[in-house]
Amino acid sequence: MDNTLFPFAAIVGQDDMKKALLLNIVDPGIGGALVRGEKGTAKSTAVRSLAQILPDRRRAAGCAFGCDPSRPDRACPACAEAISSGRAIQAEEARMRVVELPLSATEDRVAGTLDIEHVLKTGEKRFEPGVLAQANGNLLYVDEVNLLNDHIVDLLLDSAAMGVNYVEREGVSFAHPSRFVLVGTMNPEEGELRPQLLDRFGLSVDVKGDRGAERRMEVVRRRIAFDSDPEAYTEAWRAETDALRARVSAARGILPKVSAPDPVLRAIVAVTSGFGIDGHRADVTMMKAAKACAALDGRTEATREDVASVAALVLSHRMRRRPFEEEAFDREELERCLQSA
């Protein structure tokens, strides 16, 4: 366990942000989370600390892309070959990781590139995997995602959309699976995100600094306690951390059994069309988020309450904003939509 990370369970408040992150771990198919907020609102801390509660997953041993052996349809060329020729793939349990994409990353490091050393030694071309390969099956974190270079954003969009990283550069032609939970944090003061990228995030949450003096003191108290002895502090929160991790793992286990009956689906559609959302990504995402929400509660049927509790996360970044106006998510409108369904 990495003791330099502030315990996720010890973060005060910020329930929406925590929920958005947890739902994505329960179902990576939700499509990631964007956390927007002012400086110093524990955005990066929360995302990095997720590492402590990430569950284990099965991956092919020795595979650079960490393929899931149970999903041959999502395997890299080498694993796919092995599977189709009937060779058994050695599987191992490994913990999901938080892979960071630094802002300064170059395109070749992100997408992967020609393995120069290999060429010089042998005269043969070989693909050298990049960040998108490491991210497969893991969580890909981009801090200050709104400042990311346009052409890197294009690469991310492409992979996030298809779950595959297609590399066509430097004489290498290669494709490998790249399915990840995309988590971005940003400070909107530094500029907004491109709409195309914005829509790719399944959930989004606006975090604000806590205004209550009581809670602020608690935040400071915990932070100081952590900084003075990270190890002891992490240990003190061990039970909570482990419990949360167990809860997430359990939720992942029951997720395939969770259903969303038609009335719930109808409520979802009523909400998205009530809020004037184009496209169907919001519908699918809300359905998945509601199911994940039920799974986190240990239930096998999503309810309208689940829909109500995830709606803001799904919709807030998909609503059209008026220029220079902050548009708050309208809870009453949500209630009206749910009533009408």
Partner: protein
């Protein structure tokens, strides 16, 4: 390369999207239709549908990622073979790997315009001519390209749009039941694509059979002269330039007839064809057909309600716009009522009385008016800019000028390859000499900021000249909207210049500010020039890499000098000569009317070393007309 992890959404499982499906089926039925564009907002299954065409064309689509380097797309040198053979051995690129399958470009608006234009050309000709790095070869090119564009991010230029045979909009106004069903299928596809495929296996097979049959009927299918005329008339009605629209109309009509099992084109086939052939060509947005309108009715009502609450004009920074047509951007038609573009169109209609004629603008930032007579091609502001700091997309390689810093290893090895037999390798697999070194040419998408410096003085109030100015500025704003420029607005009147709108991507906001701009008072031209240059100096310092441009719109009649007693006009010209903001380009638009024109604006342009346009010359259509009449 076997496709990894992509199990296409079954074509038959895509609900609605009749136009887009029809366009793709037409192209699959009639091989003379080669390029199909699907436009639409985010999450409207554009990409899913494009990829769904793969299995119907004999395998997964060949994906051309937006970041692919040019030698990977068009072809280049095969380094391994070249080393073995000791002579340059060419290698085919992605375009030649289709082998009957469809090529696919997702988010084509993100691709370099030049590259996209070349791809369209290759697909249309059916071959790739390779002239690179000492290799000369010709390869067959995939004959079907399906591209998607999300106009909310940025759009293709009218010129590129026209190059697509067919174009369909992905939005279709689904009702509640549709949305529920789409969500179910979407979720199932994400979780268990095999189960979804199984569910639609029979219907999918039916689509395949229908295609097969249509390909057999197509060679026998005829289109009467009368209907050919109808097609040509429709095409002329939208005043589409050139004949691409006409040809597409005939090919699509034939395909639609064949898809319906008929060997004769009926009038309704032509009408259906028009929806996918003409909408993206100039100035035409078809009405949604009656049955779809009914479905949309409910949602449109709701939209009206919201509009009445006072939300108008302003939206998210980067809402969509069509290809740049004034009254009805191409995106406005069949996408249903809830659409940014339609809002803008509506807002524009409201303002018609205060704002003069709006039009498609020439590429006023790209050079003189005579050069930019057609569309907006060429080396304008929005091209990819070469980047010098080793950041950006690796587009090409070149022989370095001096010391190579950012070495392009692939190109270097390819350059060294032919010599490997001669050179002693000293234990290395490849012997590289200095003359082989190549460096990367990287490109960055360059942002562009345009500051409009608008004369709002009383002299322009005469003869409603201000209305024409507003019309022109709004036309330029809309142009910027499509190109994702940042725009700012500074107005000068009475005795000072005021920054009405700091540079923002929210062009819509600029629209509103411009509409409300009051006119009257004297003309402090000198003060305006000083203010603008000061502002842009600090702006360009804080936005390195941004292309900056100031567009001065004035009749050139200054009457408020900076220094008491000075001649305001002479002072302005002198100031213009002394202004030097690094990297800032000036464009002067002369708003003086006909006979009353004053030559000061032209002198200002000369002193500022900027381009000079008369207001009337900004109108691309009118300019094209005058050029045409001059030639003929």
């Amino acid at each position: 390369m076997p496709p990894v992890g992509v199990t296409e959404f079954p074509f038959a499982a895509v609900r609605g999207m009749d136009d887009a499906k029809r366009a793709i089926l037409c192209a699959l039925a009639n091989r003379r239709i080669r390029t199909v564009l699907i436009r639409g907002g985010p999450g409207t299954a554009k990409t899913a549908l494009a990829r769904a065409a793969g299995p119907l064309s004999g395998g997964s689509v060949v994906n051309i990622p937006p970041g692919a380097s040019e030698d990977m797309i068009f072809g280049g040198i095969d380094a391994e073979a070249t080393m073995r053979e000791g002579r340059p051995v060419p290698q085919a690129g992605l375009l030649s790997r289709a082998d009957g399958r469809a090529l696919c470009i997702d988010d084509a608006n993100l691709m370099d315009r030049r590259v996209l234009a070349s791809i369209l050309d290759c697909v249309a000709r059916g071959k790739v001519s390779l002239e690179r790095e000492g290799a000369s070869a010709e390869y067959p090119c995939g004959s079907l390209l399906i591209a998607t564009v999300n106009p909310c991010d940025s759009d293709l230029s009218p010129h590129l749009l026209d190059r697509f045979d067919l174009c369909a909009y992905s939005g279709w106004g689904p009702g509640e039941e549709d949305r529920m069903e789409i969500a179910k299928r979407g979720a199932l596809h994400r979780d268990d694509p095999a189960a979804l495929a199984e569910l639609f296996a029979a219907e999918q097979a039916g689509v395949g059979e229908r295609l097969e049959a249509s390909r057999r009927i197509l060679p026998l299918t005829v289109m009467s002269d009368g209907l050919m005329e109808v097609a040509a008339e429709l095409s002329a009605k939208v005043s589409a330039d050139g004949f691409r629209g006409d040809i597409a109309m005939v090919n699509a009509s034939l395909a639609i007839a064949a898809l319906n099992g008929r060997d004769e084109v009926l009038r309704k086939d032509v009408e259906e064809a028009a929806r996918i052939c003409l909408a993206h060509r100039r100035g035409y947005a078809p009405e949604p057909p009656a049955q779809q309108r009914d479905e949309q009715g409910r949602e449109e009502d709701r939209e009206e309600d919201r509009e009445d609450e006072g939300d108008r004009g302003g939206r998210d920074d980067d809402g969509g716009d069509g290809g740049g047509e004034p009254e009805r951007p191409p995106g406005s038609g069949p996408e249903g009522g809830r659409d940014d573009m339609e809002d803008i169109a509506r807002a524009m209609e409201d303002m018609v009385f205060e704002i003069g004629e709006q039009f498609r603008v020439v590429d006023y930032l790209g050079g003189g008016p005579r050069k930019a007579s057609k569309a907006s091609g060429g080396k304008g502001r929005r091209d990819m800019a070469e980047s010098s700091d080793a950041v950006g997309r690796y587009a090409r390689s070149r022989i370095p000028d001096g010391r190579a810093r950012d070495i392009a290893f692939d190109a270097t090895i390819r350059a060294a390859a032919p010599h490997q037999r001669r050179r002693g390798r000293a234990g290395m697999a490849v012997s590289v000499e200095k003359s082989d070194l190549r460096e990367k040419v990287r490109e960055k998408r360059r942002g562009c900021t345009i500051l409009f410096l608008v004369d709002a003085s009383g002299s322009l109030g005469v003869r409603r000249r201000m209305a024409a100015v507003k019309g022109a500025v709004l036309s330029m704003l809309r142009d910027s909207y499509v190109k994702r420029d940042r725009v700012g607005l500074m107005a000068f009147r009475r005795d000072s210049a005021e920054l009405v709108l700091p540079p923002t991507r929210s062009v819509e906001y600029g629209y509103r500010m411009m509409g409300e701009l009051p006119t009257g008072g004297k003309t402090p031209l000198g003060a305006a020039l000083v203010r603008a240059s000061e502002y842009m100096t600090s702006y360009s310092r804080s936005h390195p890499g941004e292309a900056c441009c100031a567009v001065l719109i004035t009749d050139g009649r200054a009457n408020v000098p900076l220094k008491d007693g000075a001649d305001a006009n002479e002072e302005a010209v002198r100031l213009a000569g002394s202004i030097s903001v690094p990297g800032l380009r000036w464009v002067v638009v002369d708003a003086g009317a006909g006979r009353m024109r004053f030559d000061n604006a032209e002198r200002l342009a000369m002193e500022l070393e900027g381009a000079y346009f008369r207001l009337e010359d900004l109108n691309a259509d009118r300019l094209a007309e005058s050029v045409r009449s001059a030639i003929m």
